[in-house]
């Protein structure tokens, strides 16, 4: 259960987040979308305890964001935008480190590592340094690190990026199972088609403000604005309408092509 109340973040004169209020219930996969610079990463960084908000509060799994930040970190799984992997470690060493820091017991940890490496097809690469991994492999290790502790809340920044279709399917299977067992999963993504397909609920953030929120199941029946009264055909359309300020250039300007 993730509860956010009027979370704001101010960088000198730049208001990155403006009184964001949101909640992700248990048994739910929540898609968090928005254009670049809208505040998605800032939100995630605040919720995962990397930066402090200027005002507002949040509760994650019942723990207060600021007072119990170490407790929160013990119980959540994170894939940050930058992946935060230790390049100087091998895949296996990294997972071992993560498990130990979460206080997992030795034999349990070893078993889970073995299973995860097999599931993600990383067994042959487990003793290679992470810096030799391809982007897709790094994503897989990051994903494995995030779920190794069976956390009840997950914060995943573009989890499927660079991941091939087969692995994508597997990751989605895992997240669905975790959700069914009560986890709250917060995902950011730019692939709106995917968000519409996979998430239960979606919110659009623009310029630090929450501008749209809805369950994904009924999304194609939302009515368009008064001008043509047609319903939207996809999340992508809704997104474009809300976020686009109409100043975008046309490809016709690229006249030399």
């Amino acid at each position: 259960m993730i509860e956010i109340f009027e979370l704001s973040k101010n960088y000198n004169d730049l208001l990155a987040l403006d009184k964001l209020t949101l909640s992700v219930s248990e048994n739910s996969i929540f898609g968090f979308v928005g254009p670049n610079g809208a505040g998605k990463s800032t939100t995630l960084n605040i919720l995962t305890g990397i930066i402090l908000p200027t005002s507002g509060c949040a509760k994650i799994l019942g723990y207060d964001l600021i007072k119990d930040s170490v407790e929160i970190k013990k119980n959540i799984g994170v894939i940050p935008e930058v992946l935060a992997l230790f390049d100087g470690l091998t895949g296996k060493e990294h997972l071992t480190f993560v498990g130990k820091v979460y206080g997992m017991e030795k034999s349990l940890l070893e078993n889970r590592i073995k299973e995860l490496l097999e599931f993600f097809d990383l067994t042959s690469a487990k003793d290679r340094l992470i810096e030799t991994y391809s982007q897709g492999m790094r994503k897989k290790i990051a994903f494995a690190s995030a779920i190794i502790n069976s956390p009840k809340a997950l914060f995943l920044d573009e989890p499927f990026e660079n991941v091939d279709p087969v692995m994508r399917k597997r990751m989605k299977e895992i997240l669905t199972r975790m959700k069914n067992k009560g986890a709250s999963v917060l995902i950011t993504s730019h692939a709106l088609i995917e968000v519409e397909d996979f998430c239960d609920e979606v919110a659009i953030i623009n310029k630090g403000k929450l501008v749209f929120q809805s369950k994904t199941s009924g999304i194609r029946n939302k009515i368009k604005n008064e001008i043509n009264n047609e319903s939207y055909r996809s999340l992508e359309e809704i997104f474009l309408d809300i976020v686009n300020e109409g100043n975008s250039q046309n490809e016709k300007t690229l006249s030399w092509l």
């Binding site: 391809s134 990026e161 299977e173 975008s248 250039q249 030399w256």
Partner: protein, 262 residues
């Protein structure tokens, strides 16, 4: 007779004992938007690196525009452009504008053309307010955009886009889709890879699947759903994803049931 823009024959590349490309054959006809898909480690990046001449191949032949890459490289490169998955080819400590200028000059464009086209491109990709910012400080999406801008400057006839959609925001995705349509109208050839198969199905004319260093499947998109499945079920495929999983998923043991604690 239609000219093949890209003609790869029996390409072989090995990294030590690992054979990355194994007698790869690939032909891309002119004017086609061609999708190349495959699992991680299948050889996509290796193939693209060979085509763009940043990786040497052990055996085989690569012909672009009918010319041999190893002997007529300069002429070929003048009309080609490539977007790499990690945008690692950007000069970190140049500003966006300077990088475009660098690219334009290397392609032999004259000064005024470079300035004019750079301005248009920076505007188009909404990077105008970041033109004086070092590329090092760009976000991932911005890097993709400046890389895209840099390959359009010299009006190439053959464009390679390696995972162009990853990291792009939804608005730019739409822009890119429209751009592809325009390139198709002008009979340019595009080689595009993506892990989001719905994009590939939507945008490409023909698609090939690469796995373990070989092309294991190739078909026009229009004929995709009429291809027959294996002899066992004789059913046709319902989507590109199905074909993909069937062809590349070799391990049956990676069942989610193995992770019983999830």
């Amino acid at each position: 007779m239609q000219l093949n823009i890209l003609d790869i024959e029996l390409l072989e590349v090995s990294f030590g004992e690992l054979k990355a490309l194994d007698n790869l054959n690939l032909q891309i006809p002119q004017g086609c938007i061609f999708g190349l898909i495959g699992p991680n480690g299948a050889g996509k990046t290796t193939t693209i690196n060979c085509i763009t001449d940043i990786l040497d191949y052990d055996l085989g032949k690569i012909k672009i525009f009918g010319k041999d890459l190893s002997t007529e490289g300069l002429a070929i490169k003048k009309k080609m452009g490539a977007l790499y998955e990690n945008t690692e080819d950007l000069f970190q400590y140049l500003t966006g504008e300077e990088y475009l200028q660098f690219t334009g000059e290397i392609y032999g464009l004259d000064k005024n053309t470079i300035i004019e086209r750079s301005n248009t491109l920076l505007d188009y990709f909404e990077l105008d307010s970041y033109r004086f910012m070092l590329i090092d400080e760009y976000s991932k999406g911005m890097r993709k955009k400046i890389a895209l801008a840099s390959i359009l400057l010299h009006n190439p006839d053959f464009i390679i886009l390696d995972e162009p959609f990853d990291g792009l925001d939804a608005l730019t995705v739409v822009k890119l889709k429209n751009l592809l349509k325009k390139l198709k109208e002008k009979e340019k050839t595009v080689l595009i890879t993506s892990h989001i198969l719905s994009y590939i199905e939507d945008l490409t004319d023909e698609v090939a699947v690469i796995n373990k260093g070989k092309i294991v499947f190739q078909s026009k998109i229009s004929e995709l759903r009429s291809k027959v499945k294996n002899a066992v079920t004789n059913e046709t495929y319902k989507s590109l994803e199905e074909i993909f999983i069937d062809l590349t998923n070799t391990k049956g043991e990676n069942k989610i049931e193995n992770l019983n604690w999830i």
